[in-house]
């Protein structure tokens, strides 16, 4: 069995296959990092909307809480299918890539909202009181007082969640987005050994995720929250 894999390897790692896998790799990276960044921005907005000392306008904070609670509890695959059929129903002609990005953003927003909320709550309430005593508007409080202190709490866990989103993008292969998992399936269908196809893809995913995880751990040590109030 090993012999057949070794015999097949030069053909598998041929020029066109490498181009194909490289393109798939770029799509996976674009999908996960665009999704994670935009989703993170949306998540911060959600966390601000539901925070009781910032913009606690009744319909919006309830909606933000409902969104977070509901979208964290739907599996990625089901969310993907819902987004897929919802785009169809609304009559937009979009590529599968856009559907997948939308799904990553939807789930990243829900998960990041929780991280951002933990970050906002990590700032001591005296800081909020002080900002209020100095007659800061909520926006000024957020931008000048809270965020400079909260970001060190928020950043490290958001890296480990990003790994989760990278791994979730493998499910996007189900609607035919050309990303790593889909590439592996296509190559496997072309007759290459499954051991080689899926093994290569596993290694590639590992090479994306593991450095991200190490970076997150490094930041966590560097940014260990200062013990001050």
């Amino acid at each position: 069995m090993w012999q057949s894999i070794i015999d097949e390897a030069p053909r598998f790692f041929g020029y066109y296959n490498l181009i194909f896998i490289g393109e798939a790799l770029l799509h996976t990276l674009a999908l996960s990092f665009v999704g994670a960044f935009v989703g993170f921005a949306c998540g911060v907005v959600l966390a601000v909307l539901r925070h009781e000392r910032l913009f606690a306008l009744p319909p919006f904070n309830w909606l933000a809480i409902a969104y977070v609670e509901v979208f964290r509890r739907i599996p990625f695959l089901v969310k993907l299918m819902c987004a897929f059929f919802a785009y169809q129903l609304l009559g937009f002609k979009v590529t599968m890539f856009v559907v997948a990005v939308t799904t990553v953003i939807l789930s990243a927003a829900a998960f990041s909202a929780e991280i951002a909320r933990a970050g906002l709550e990590s700032v001591h309430r005296n800081q909020w009181d002080a900002a209020e005593a100095m007659n800061f508007t909520p926006l000024q409080t957020l931008l000048l007082v809270i965020m400079p202190q909260a970001w060190r709490v928020v950043l490290p866990p958001s890296f480990s969640y990003t790994i989760g989103f990278i791994k979730s993008t493998s499910i996007a292969s189900q609607i035919g987005v050309l990303e790593l998992t889909y590439a592996a399936k296509v190559l496997n269908t072309k007759g290459f050994s499954a051991f080689l196809c899926f093994g290569t893809i596993l290694v590639l995913y590992f090479l994306i995720c593991y450095p991200t995880k190490l970076l997150g751990e490094h930041l966590e040590r560097r940014l260990a929250p200062a013990r001050r109030r």
Binding site: R73, P75, L77, Q88, F195, C209
Partner: protein, 224 residues
């Protein structure tokens, strides 16, 4: 937009869908329990083993934490037959999910092990406990309280992850949704109902775990 949502056509399938939810629950619970066993062995090895034991366990954990579950199961399902191990979809999904959960639960349980005080272990060693007795009688009762919230979260995540089994044709909640979709073509309706079922299912599980944690271990943390 020439499409009207018609939930009436799919509501008849609701009992069939709930049967799928029951299978999801079984798959989630079973893989979680096997993962717990794997994690317990691994965490014990990481905490008490020498370097020769720790290295492969560490490699296992790092590998499974940093690759997608879907591709892991693809590998188990399609690549293992090349070495003569043929599995049916349910077995492949169960093995993949158990190994994946095992890696996460190793990390969680190792963190729990580290929360033990050195003096407690020394006391047990003085009493002549062997490794099994040390783990079973001293460490486990102590870390139940510390570990309950992250383990509950992991269980909820495991419950949602079972939807991946649908890709391999296991007829759990999402798999049955695919079937109903193929029969009725009321796609958005049935998938949104399934999403709702997942939300309700995990909310019930969260609430139950919260009550259990409160009653048994006096945990006050929120579950998922």
């Amino acid at each position: 937009m020439h499409y009207t949502l018609q939930f009436g056509q799919v509501t008849g399938y609701f009992p069939y869908l709930l049967g799928g939810a029951w299978l999801s629950l079984q798959l989630g619970a079973l893989s979680f329990l096997i993962g717990m066993a794997i994690g317990l062995v691994n965490a014990t090895a990481l905490t008490f083993g020498n370097r020769l034991v720790r290295a492969p366990v560490h490699a296992f954990v790092i590998f499974f934490l940093n690759t997608p579950l879907l591709v892991q199961i693809f590998f188990i399902f399609f690549a293992l037959p090349e070495v003569g191990i043929v599995l049916n979809p349910y077995e492949a999904v169960l093995i993949g999910m158990s190994l994946n959960a095992g890696a996460y639960l190793t990390e969680i349980q190792r963190a729990g092990f580290q929360s033990i005080r050195r003096a407690e272990i020394e006391a047990a060693e003085t009493l002549g406990f062997n490794l099994f007795q040390l783990v079973w009688y001293v460490i486990l009762p102590h870390i139940c309280k510390v570990l309950f919230p992250p383990l509950s979260n992991q269980f909820i995540i495991q419950l949602m992850t079972t939807s991946i089994a649908a890709i391999f044709g296991v007829e759990e909640l999402t798999g049955r949704t695919y079937n109903i979709n193929a029969q009725t073509f009321r796609s958005l309706e049935i998938f949104s109902i399934t999403a709702g079922v997942y939300v309700v299912l995990t909310m019930i599980a969260s609430a139950m775990l919260f009550v259990i944690g409160r009653k048994l271990f006096r945990v006050t943390a929120k579950v998922f």
